[in-house]
């Protein structure tokens, strides 16, 4: 075991501090040190997307980020989407559209979808499929996932309209 490094980061809105080895990925730190097991390991080489998190608002594979690299950065995981008021509109849309089966890829897909809808209000089917191509789902055939993201985009738009009016 090599020496551990102290890391300070903002995770799901909270300032946290943890100790990790440089070789531990952000995914390992989230899961094994911080107990945030919502982010999943599917391949550990950036090809499945199950570990997707937002790093400073940008979707990344947390298996390809070292824990020590997030010193001073901001991370959002699936655990940070819902709050006490209830599910995030994306989560609600996935629930309503039956867009999950086993659910293992879903945290990564929700995070990636959030990153998309944070920057684009009305993505086309092709755009959603391209954006999510790095998030493998073996159960659903993607149909209901794409529909749920489209519906969530509409819900978010509606919510923004209500806030603005």
């Amino acid at each position: 075991m090599s020496a551990k490094t102290r890391v300070n980061a903002k995770i799901n809105g909270e300032q946290v501090e943890f100790l990790c080895e440089p070789r531990q990925s952000l995914l390992e730190c989230l899961r094994d040190i911080l107990g945030l097991t919502g982010s999943k390991e599917g391949c550990n080489d950036g090809n499945c997307g199950a570990c997707s998190v937002l790093l400073n608002g940008r979707v990344v594979n947390s298996c390809l980020v070292l824990g020590v690299e997030v010193q001073g950065q901001e991370v959002i995981t699936v655990e940070g989407l819902a709050d006490w008021r209830g599910l995030h509109p994306l989560q609600q849309a996935f629930l309503d559209h039956a867009a999950l089966q086993c659910g293992y890829c879903i945290p990564g897909i929700l995070i990636a979808s959030k990153a998309l809808l944070d920057r684009e209000t009305n993505p086309s089917e092709e755009r959603i499929r391209t954006w999510l191509a790095g998030n493998l789902c073996r159960c659903t055939g993607y149909d209901k996932i794409v529909r749920a993201v489209q519906d969530a985009a509409a819900r978010l738009k509606q919510a923004r309209r209500e806030v603005n009016s």
């Binding site: 075991m1 080895e21 070789r23 531990q24 390992e28 899961r31 094994d32 107990g35 945030l36 097991t37 919502g38 999943k40 390991e41 599917g42 391949c43 550990n44 080489d45 090809n47 499945c48 199950a50 995981t77 699936v78 655990e79 989407l81 819902a82 599910l87 989560q91 996935f94 629930l95 309503d96 559209h97 039956a98 999950l100 089966q101 086993c102 659910g103 293992y104 890829c105 879903i106 945290p107 929700l110 959603i128 499929r129 391209t130 999510l132 191509a133 790095g134 998030n135 493998l136 789902c137 073996r138 159960c139 659903t140 055939g141 993607y142 149909d143 209901k144 996932i145 794409v146 529909r147």
Partner: protein, 764 residues
């Protein structure tokens, strides 16, 4: 009891069945709270890691674990020596014939390693990284042997033998000479030579399919904790907690009652996590016992590919003849399945499925099928969604398409002319029960998709259909009534895709309760009766029957309580849609909740129970239609439109039935176009990762249209049929037929990659 069944007899007038309520487990899975196999965390937990063979075929000369054992942070090292060996070859688990010696050898090799990735030892250490480093310190000396990785090579007379004493098992006169052919079975119906003599058109080809993996995103993972009291607890991601417990009991020579298997959420399985073959749990248990600590083992993705249980690649020969009028007169097929390192077909039963269902959609007077299970230096093969059938549907439905072309007939019309009905006799001598084959074909024929014109050059439309027999088997369910009128339902069925909900919906229908008032859980092996693994498309059918039966038990007991409260005879109390009614005393009513509130004063708690073994389930037909565009310069296939038409019996939760149809179709598309194990001459798998083992991404597929045809399944109160497996069967043939119509060439090898299409077209 007749009153209790009222809500079932209505046929289509259901309150809950057929609706689309939210799933019980969805919020946890959407918020990251659901705990999957790799998510278990226990105090003092260690991490286990396998030491795996770098050779495809070798004798183990020696294993020296001393350096690994003394590495800082290492708590235990085990090898095959730590197993008590089972020599019993004939034990049966569930309905499979398990050879425990093979099972153990596959978990920790004893004398030989038979594939790259075959485990030879395991270590438990304080962290995953330390375990990985220590595993590299286990010194294994091998004498390397030549390897065979396909059936052709394995069946040559001079092929190296994986098992020096393996005699082909068959019903013919036993052979004497060992070979790599583990078994051979044959079905003959009628007189095939006469059938071919009657044929006016005969088509015949050879086909191959690649080894493919179920490709679940969650790797195999488990945590074992062997207490000093002898009680072993195992948290694991499995399709069958009871099967796992029973296997562990046998493998570890430990009483079943001292083993508790706690099933975690399962991140995809598709036949790859059946408890028939297990890979980690017994080893984690041995490590835990030795270290006196809980031990977690998680496979890497490479380990999942190299050393779990992909499904069989196959070499297939098939022939079909028909008259000019379009009647099929005879079929003949030879099926050579890769077993992997150990005999496999007899365990998973894919011989039976492949031979039985290959031509099951067609009424055939004559036919012969021979199937062979051939061991090769690859991981042991197992089930993948409709095991054995996708491979054989690929040739069968291409021959059908080719005959339709040669006869100048519409491909659906040709199929309708030969379609099976109830009572049609299959090639294995069994007969179809109530089936919706013709209904599905007619729905496909009249679909908007089939009626639409094709758009442009290099476009083609393909059709294929398939059959899967489904399953019944044992299930247990208990329903406890709570004081506020809610109920808690526990079943033993692992929930792979929403069955907690589809099972509870059936209980809700009987109890007249809305689904929100039912809490539905998956029990561990101490909390509910034996329940067969979730597989064979059985769960919503068989565990649904268990839930219905348990709910009927609840209603029956609650009627007694209502009778007591009213002071009437129990036969004077009826129950309908959640309301107890008696016509005595001027007519009175109580809701389910009102009776539930008064259980304490009428005799105490009420729990309904059921242990069932339903028989006579109905099989499932599906017809797929696909439009493709093939780039004539690159051979790349774009799927433009895809439709799945399927007999679903009764769709309990239509959204999740659609999900099964869509997900199965896309897995079939992956099998058809992208997926396959690749090997070099040494027997190394070249693509053990999602970069080069290519499963479809969101961008590779269009929306998958679904048409649910509801021909009620037999022997289920709501007419439920299994729906999960059949959707994977037709896609490879449907795509091959579409590619043929787009390019004029038939591709007979899976996957139908761009390079193979260009080669078939003669471009390269």
């Amino acid at each position: 009891m007749s009153q209790d069944k009222h809500s079932l007899a209505g046929g289509t007038n259901y309150q809950v069945v057929g609706t689309r309520p939210p799933r019980h487990d969805a919020p946890d899975k959407l918020t990251g709270r659901a705990l999957f196999g790799p998510d278990t965390k226990l105090p003092g937990m260690l991490y286990g890691k396998m030491v795996r063979s770098p050779h495809a075929h070798a004798h183990i000369r020696s294993i020296d674990t001393r350096r690994a054992a003394s590495f800082p942070g290492v708590y235990a090292v085990v090898t095959a020596q730590d197993f008590r060996w089972n020599e019993d070859p004939g034990a049966k688990l569930d309905e499979s014939a398990i050879n425990f010696a093979y099972l153990q050898e596959n978990m920790l090799a004893r004398e030989k390693v038979l594939y790259v990735g075959h485990p030879v030892a395991a270590v438990a250490a304080s962290s995953n990284h330390v375990a990985e480093e220590a595993a590299e310190l286990v010194d294994v000396q091998y004498d390397v042997l030549p390897a065979v990785t396909d059936v052709g090579a394995a069946m040559r007379p001079d092929a190296p033998l994986l098992h020096e004493h393996l005699i082909t098992q068959s019903l013919s006169k036993p052979g004497q000479r060992p070979s790599n052919v583990a078994s051979h079975f044959q079905h003959v119906k009628g007189d095939p030579s006469q059938g071919f003599a009657q044929a006016e058109v005969i088509v015949e080809h050879e086909f191959t399919t690649s080894t493919v993996h179920q490709g679940y995103i969650e790797p195999q993972a488990c945590t074992a904790w062997w207490g000093l009291d002898g009680n072993l607890k195992v948290w694991t991601t499995t399709q069958g907690a009871f099967g796992m417990r029973d296997q562990l009991a046998k493998l570890l020579h430990h009483p079943m009652s001292s083993i508790l298997v706690i099933p975690t959420e399962v991140g995809g399985a598709f036949g790859g996590k059946l408890p028939i073959f297990i890979f980690l749990e017994a080893v984690a248990a041995l490590l835990s016992r030795k270290a006196n600590r809980p031990v977690k083992m998680i496979m890497t993705r490479a380990e999942v590919f190299l050393a779990t249980n992909p499904t069989s690649g196959a070499y297939l020969k098939a022939k079909m003849g028909a008259t000019r009028e379009g009647r099929i007169t005879a079929v003949q097929a030879e099926l050579y399945f890769e077993a992997g390192a150990y005999p496999s077909a007899s365990v998973i039963g894919y011989f039976g499925f492949a031979m039985g269902f290959m031509f099951a959609p067609y009424d055939l007077p004559h036919g012969q099928i021979d199937a062979y299970d051939v061991v090769v230096n690859k991981p042991r093969t197992a089930a993948y969604r409709a095991p054995g059938v996708t491979q054989v549907n690929f040739p069968a439905e291409q021959l059908i398409d080719e005959l339709a072309v040669k006869l100048g007939m519409d491909p659906i019309a040709f199929r309708l002319k030969n379609v099976v009905h109830q009572g049609s006799e299959l090639i294995d001598g069994t007969s179809h029960g109530s089936i919706g084959a013709e209904e599905v074909l007619r729905a496909a024929q009249s679909s908007g998709h089939y009626g639409s014109p094709l758009q442009g050059p290099h476009h083609g439309r393909g059709v294929a259909q398939g059959y899967w027999g489904n399953w019944g088997a044992h299930s247990s369910c208990a329903i406890s009534v709570n004081g506020d009128g809610t109920v808690s339902l526990v079943s033993g069925s692992i929930d792979l895709s929403g069955t907690r909900t589809t099972v509870a919906m059936q209980a809700a229908e009987v109890l007249g309760l809305s689904l929100e008032r039912i809490k539905s859980s998956v029990g561990d092996t101490d909390s509910i009766g034996y329940t067969e693994m979730s597989g064979g498309s059985r769960t919503t059918f068989a565990t649904g029957i268990a839930a219905i039966t348990a709910a009927q038990d609840v209603v029956s007991q609650m009627r007694g309580r209502a009778a007591l409260l009213w002071g009437v005879e129990v036969q004077d109390v009826s129950f309908d849609q959640g309301i107890f009614t008696t016509h005595r005393g001027g007519g009175r009513q109580m809701t389910f909740a009102e009776v539930a509130e008064r259980l304490a004063e009428t005799g105490g708690p009420v729990t309904g129970r059921a242990n069932v073994d339903p028989q006579g389930w109905g099989g499932a037909f599906g017809t797929h239609i696909v439009d493709v565009q093939v780039d004539p310069e690159t051979g790349k296939v774009d799927i433009l439109r895809y439709s799945v038409v399927q007999d679903v019996g009764k769709a309990v939760h239509p959204s999740y039935v659609e999900g099964q149809m869509q997900g199965g179709a896309v897995q079939g598309i992956g099998w058809a176009l992208y997926e396959g194990y690749q090997y070099n001459a040494r027997g190394d798998m070249l693509n053990p990762g999602f970069l080069d083992y290519k499963i479809p991404t969101a961008l590779d597929v269009p929306m998958i249209e679904t048409i649910m045809v509801e021909v009620p399944g037999p022997n289920h109160p709501f007419g439920v049929r299994g729906v999960g497996e059949i959707p994977i069967v037709p896609p490879p043939a449907a795509l091959a037929n579409a590619i043929y119509r787009a390019t004029g060439v038939r591709v007979t090898d899976l996957p139908m990659t761009p390079v193979r299409i260009l080669e078939a077209m003669g471009v390269i």
